[in-house]
């Protein structure tokens, strides 16, 4: 039996680091690139997992900042190693500043069928503040180019809650992105991660972020705007036209197995999560960390991941792990208050409560 799974490949290079980023990424050192891709291919070669790949995702970092042949090399290696589903979704994250036409054509040719642009904002002052290398015009141009070379599944990331941003401005950005032909938008409420330059700026009062209530307002208005344009919110921060949901990310939220290749990449199979070393040295030394999820943790993850999406989680899946959630008092209360809903064996959060999902999730934990 050939089980299905997803593949994540981490490209830890960037041309510069953005102020809000806490991902494993390093400003690109040319000499290191080749060594890294060699190691990456070796890691894939060593993998003993067998199954059918449903999705592949090149994330980063900025996968587009290295030569496309590197990506191709990895993709070929993957195809050599694993069975690929016919409809396999193959995504790559792109920075509008580093995606030229030839690169996009090459992606298309090698079989990548989904492209995700880190647009973040269409206001050049905000982009400069964030430390992004592109301008708004680059973003729109990149999207147009991607369409031109034949991409049909195009996503754009937007950040909500930047300093001095307003709901109307972001709704306007959404409008322009939709016009440009994207089929998917990820709209994230800006999260200040510890240790980032942004955290320092906020701490020093140099960056003033909108209050939670204002951010919630923006989120609500963006959701409405996208909904009016047939972009349905299928996850807390993800909106797509019908049929353009990101299958790779859905696999995470539905608790499917996934392999992670590359520096700091995480994989999870059968309740065991594995993380590669987060520095080049550790990665090249083959250092990896494993975590066997307890029953409690497995249950918690099903709930917290499932409730991120409009599909919710499956009650039976919890039952199989020994948790009968329908006996939970909070569960009953939330159902009666219309905060969550139950349908066809699945439980999901009602759409007005996505913004406060943590509060709901923790109360449903066993």
């Amino acid at each position: 039996m050939n089980k299905t799974f997803s593949i994540y490949v981490h490209i830890p290079f960037c041309q510069s680091k953005c102020i809000y980023c806490d991902f494993a990424s390093f400003v690109v050192p040319e000499d290191k690139v080749k060594k890294y891709f060699d190691a990456l291919c070796q890691e894939i070669e060593r993998c003993e997992f067998s199954g059918k790949a449903k999705t592949v995702y090149f994330g980063g970092g900025t996968p587009s900042c290295v030569d496309a042949e590197n990506i191709e090399r990895v993709l070929l290696k993957l195809k050599e190693k694993f069975d690929f589903d016919e409809a396999c979704e193959i995504s790559i994250e792109c920075n509008p500043a580093s995606a030229d036409k030839s690169k996009l054509e090459r992606y298309r040719k090698m079989g990548i069928n989904r492209i995700s642009f880190g647009v973040q904002s269409l206001n050049d002052n905000q982009l400069a503040f964030l430390g992004r290398r592109h301008k708004s015009v680059d973003a729109l141009e990149s999207i147009a180019l991607a369409k031109e070379v034949g991409f049909e599944n195009i996503s754009a990331d937007l950040l909500l809650g930047l300093p001095k941003s307003s709901a109307s401005e972001i709704c306007e950005f959404c409008g322009r992105l939709i016009e440009s032909g994207v089929t998917h938008i990820s709209a994230y409420m800006l999260q200040v991660e510890e240790g980032t330059p942004l955290a320092k700026m906020v701490g020093q009062g140099k960056a003033i972020l909108p209050s939670d209530d204002m951010t919630a307002d923006i989120y609500e208005k963006v959701t409405n705007k996208l909904d009016e344009n047939n972009f349905e919110r299928y996850e807390i921060s993800n909106f797509a036209k019908k049929g353009f949901e990101c299958k790779h990310n859905l696999a995470y939220w539905q608790g499917k197995d996934y392999l992670g290749f590359g520096l700091g990449a995480v994989g999870c199979e059968n309740g065991v999560r594995k993380m590669n070393g987060k520095t080049f040295d550790d990665y090249y030394d083959g250092k990896a960390y494993q975590e066997k999820l307890t029953l409690q943790e497995q249950i918690e993850e099903i709930i917290m991941l499932g409730l991120r999406t409009k599909y919710g989680f499956e009650i039976e899946k919890l039952k199989a792990l020994g948790y009968n959630i329908s006996k939970n008092d909070n569960y009953k209360k939330f159902l009666s208050q219309g905060i969550i809903k139950e349908k066809d064996g699945f439980v999901a959060i009602n759409k007005n409560y996505f913004g406060v999902s943590n509060e709901i999730i923790v109360k449903l934990f066993p």
């Binding site: 994540y8 994330g59 807390i236 995480v266 999870c268 918690e300 917290m304 208050q337 905060i339 943590n358």
Partner: protein, 627 residues
Amino acid sequence: MTKYSLLSRLLILFAKCKVFGYNICDMDRLEKIRNFCIIAHIDHGKSTLADRLIESTGTLEKRDMQSQLLDSMELEREKGITIKLTPTRMVYHSQGEEYILNLIDTPGHVDFTYEVSRSLAACEGAILIVDASQGVEAQTLANAYLAIDNNLEILPVINKIDLPSARPEEVKKEIEDVVGIPAMHAPCISAKDGTNIDAVLEMIVKEFPCPKGDENGKLKCLIFDSYYDNFKGAICLIRVFDGQVRVGDKIKMMQTGRVFDVTEVGVFVPYSKPVDVLMAGDVGYLAGSIKTISDVAVGDTITKADDPTQVPLPGYKKVQPVVYCGIFPVDGAKYNELKDALEKLKLNDASLQYQPEVSEALGFGFRCGFLGLLHLEIITERIEREFNLDIITTAPGVYYKVHKTNGEILEVSNPSNLPSPVEIDFIEEPVVKASIFTPPEYVGAIMELCQDKRGIYKDLVYLDKSRVRVDYTLPLGEIIYDFFDSLKSRTKGYASFDYEIAGFEKSDLVRVDILLNGEKCDALSLIVHKDKAYARGRAIAEKLKKIIPRQLFEVPIQAAIGNKIIARETISAMRKDVLAKCYGGDITRKRKLLEKQKEGKKKMRQIGSVEIPSEAFMSILKLNDDE
């Protein structure tokens, strides 16, 4: 033959004296004992001087000092109060004579004023330490007056002369002017550096009177402290005034009437060391398989059961709780663990009182009585730390005498037990006689504060040109709010304050209830004076709005007297509590964040549909009027 036998008898007598630890003739015995304590304002160097005395007399080797100190520090941390050493017996040689010096320590807080007074009653002398740069401060004065009340000889010592800012001569004058005792010959020392410690020891021997007493009289011992030992039971710390006590004696506690067989007597050097006998003038301990500390009342007199004295030592008071609050486990299932914790604490603390109580909001718990707010804080902290229990403490209050229209009189310490207004004829509340000592420039501020706290002015006396005593009658219920803090801030810490319970007085009191989302929360109710009810109700509603986190829905907070709403605030619904991103790489981290958030919920109490943090119940006490 006769001559020989007389000599041998003398020798035997001498040997016996040695066995008893006294290298001196019986007649002179008392003259070679000094019982004293050290009193001071906080941080003026009480513990350091005590350490130096112990070290200088060779009671403990220097290398042992460290561990001794550490042990005490641990105890201090555990109790959260100023170090309280066991009384220490030191041997000191002066001009060829051997003296026994008993140092008795005193707790330093108004909650324990009675215990302090009993410790002082066990002494003949008190060393008053004053910081050479800070001079006389509030507690210097309060402690000095306590010592004067107990007829102690007070000898000032100027400490910290090693500091560049030391001004010993001025401070001596200050002591004479403010405290009113001669100070010109006070030794100037540095306890830290060990400078001039010998002068202090000489002073103790020369200036402090020796104890008086009749070792052949009927036994009279003062219990000035007690503690619980897991093996020996309750241990009495005693000062023998008359007679002798030894192992095997049948003793009687005069107040409680309980009789025990003495199983051990001893002294602290500073660890406990059994001796054969304690005689008039001695300080030491006594054990007698006493199972509960409640049988050992501080201030009680111990005498012999079969040959009792008729007259107990003066000054005994039954210690009554003055502050009450409810204590509940955050996790209702831990009621029994809380009960065990209280039982164990009570073993070592006779003044703690508790009885079961049920609250609609908080479930099963206990109503507990304390000597004061510090005592309350210590106990609640010990429950949390030593027994690892999360507890909810309701706002402290006093107890009221409620006269009902049907003639019945109720004693109410829990506001929710107050009968409905129609059944109440009148209510009496406890009042205290308060004396405040202050430099004259703060009199105005103090009078304003007392007025604000519903005080009734009694007297104002100029003690000298720099010290004034202000007397007020104040409701106890007002004092346990933020009186200490207000007094301190209004007088820069220079005022010292003491009070005694002065009975009950009729007062116009009402109960203010708090409603959350329309539901009354009994654990938040409180009894206040009618004139203050509106302001207090409003302040509590505002405070709760700050403390209660936003919930999934809007929560109105109301304060009410009966059915009348007197204040309202609204907590708007929560709008954002979400993890914007969660992909394959950070599922573990995000799960842990949520687990932590869930853990935080355990400190929350569900009242109806509203979640309240445990500290909300206590916080309504800390309403600053100036806020």
